[in-house]
Amino acid sequence: MSNKPTHNTSSGELAGFVRLNEGIKGVVLIAFQINIMALNAILLAHRAGEVALGFGVISKELRSLSVELTGLMQELSNDAYLAVNLISDLLRQERRYRLLKKATDLVVNPSPALRDVMLRREEEFSLITHRVRDVRLRLLDRLEDARKLCQFGTAISRSAKIEAAYGREYGRALAEVSQEFDQKIQNILPSIEALCTGMQRR
């Protein structure tokens, strides 16, 4: 593997992480909506009493899911910020490397000291490249966690639909809430998938 700086990769990567951060904002917004919705559903289940005991449990699950998802997104956002910093640094290094390399190539007999400078540059560069790679792997792990969480969310929002059927006079209200849960979760999944593919493509 070559550690020689190449400008295009880094600037493309920078754009990728900036997009990731935008995507995260969208997921956080939906997670917030799920949280509020789940809170209302818990209250509704409380009013409905015994017929909605199962529904209440599921709503609590969804609420903690939204909290967990928000936390996960916060961590992703921190990593994306770290990656943007690292890549900005990489871009600076690449520019310096390019100019130093050009200088070295123009000098007829570059001194060993100058060669050392170039070697140090390359080492530094490969160090940062590795750090960016580590951050990306961590990001992918967290995105995978988020995806699993959403799949779990899909499953329990389906259970909520079933539970709603036992709700007697509250049945309709509960069915509406469970329908909304399902929709919100379905909205998040494609965003998470898009974030995953966006990161994997690099």
């Binding site: 310096r96 100019l99 130093l100 200088a103 123009l106 000098v107 001194s111 000291a113 100058l114 400078v117």
Partner: protein
């Protein structure tokens, strides 16, 4: 590539100009860098922008080991003056850059920190170089508000930064001014627009006229020598500069 040419030599004491880069991108202004060398102590004036660093570095290497540059002097804070600082520090982390105290916390955007930057006080200062001394002469507001020239009393050379600069067409870009009247036309627009203060200009002209200057070396354009030095000072003293000389309002 730029070429290096010795313009003064007395024993190990010498001035070398690095100028005229035919391969530089057209969008980048051409600059002159000067190496002042005395008993192996090497100083580079206005080392230039980062894009021309390779050309300066390579031209310098035909004269001295560029890694042996110990001091940089930045007449002011412009990118064409000192944006290469980070690259010079890569080559030699011990390099010291002298710049007006006004800019010592701005220049780190190009590289360096309090360890690599020495702030020159407003009144100027002198500094040993080899067995001699050089002086940082105040030239504030010409054009930068924190601006210095470098005077070498033994060589009788004044490095004058943007003062004396000319934007020369390629067919007239000789290293030394040959025909003052013809040359100065290319300096006029630059001085009118860049130099904002008549008061600062007259103060500098008065001080410069009392100095012993054999060569006045600007950062852009040709070098003035002999009688052309005084001719330039007189011309500059007479030249209207600043806001009144151009229309900026509709």
């Amino acid at each position: 590539m730029k070429t290096a040419q010795t313009i003064y030599q007395e024993g190990s004491h010498r001035w070398v100009v690095i100028a005229r880069d035919p391969s530089k991108p057209d969008c980048v202004i051409d600059t002159n860098e000067y190496l002042v060398s005395r008993e192996g102590d090497n100083l580079l004036t206005d080392p230039g922008g980062s894009e021309i660093f390779p050309a300066v570095f390579a031209a310098l290497s035909t004269i001295v080991d560029p890694m042996s540059i110990r001091y940089l002097f930045a007449s002011h804070q412009d990118p064409d003056i000192i944006s290469s600082l980070g690259l010079w520090l890569e080559c030699n982390p011990d390099i010291r850059c002298y710049v007006s105290r006004l800019w010592s916390s701005f220049i780190p955007h190009f590289g360096g920190d309090e360890n690599s930057l020495t702030a020159i006080p407003d009144e100027g200062m002198s500094m040993p170089l080899g067995s001699g001394q050089i002086e940082y002469v105040p030239a504030h507001f010409l054009h930068s508000s924190g601006n210095f020239h470098l005077y070498d009393p033994d060589a009788r050379i004044l490095f004058s930064g943007d003062v004396g600069a000319a934007l020369l067409p390629p067919e007239e870009d000789e290293l030394f001014v040959r025909d003052f009247d013809k040359h100065i036309r290319h300096a006029e627009g630059f001085h009118r627009r860049w130099m904002g203060s008549t008061e600062a200009k007259l103060d500098w002209c008065e001080r410069a006229s009392r100095m012993k200057i054999d060569m006045l070396c600007p950062q852009h354009g040709s070098i003035y020598q002999g009688d052309d030095v005084m001719r330039f000072i007189n011309w500059f003293a007479e030249l209207p500069v600043g806001l009144s000389t151009f229309r900026h309002r509709r």
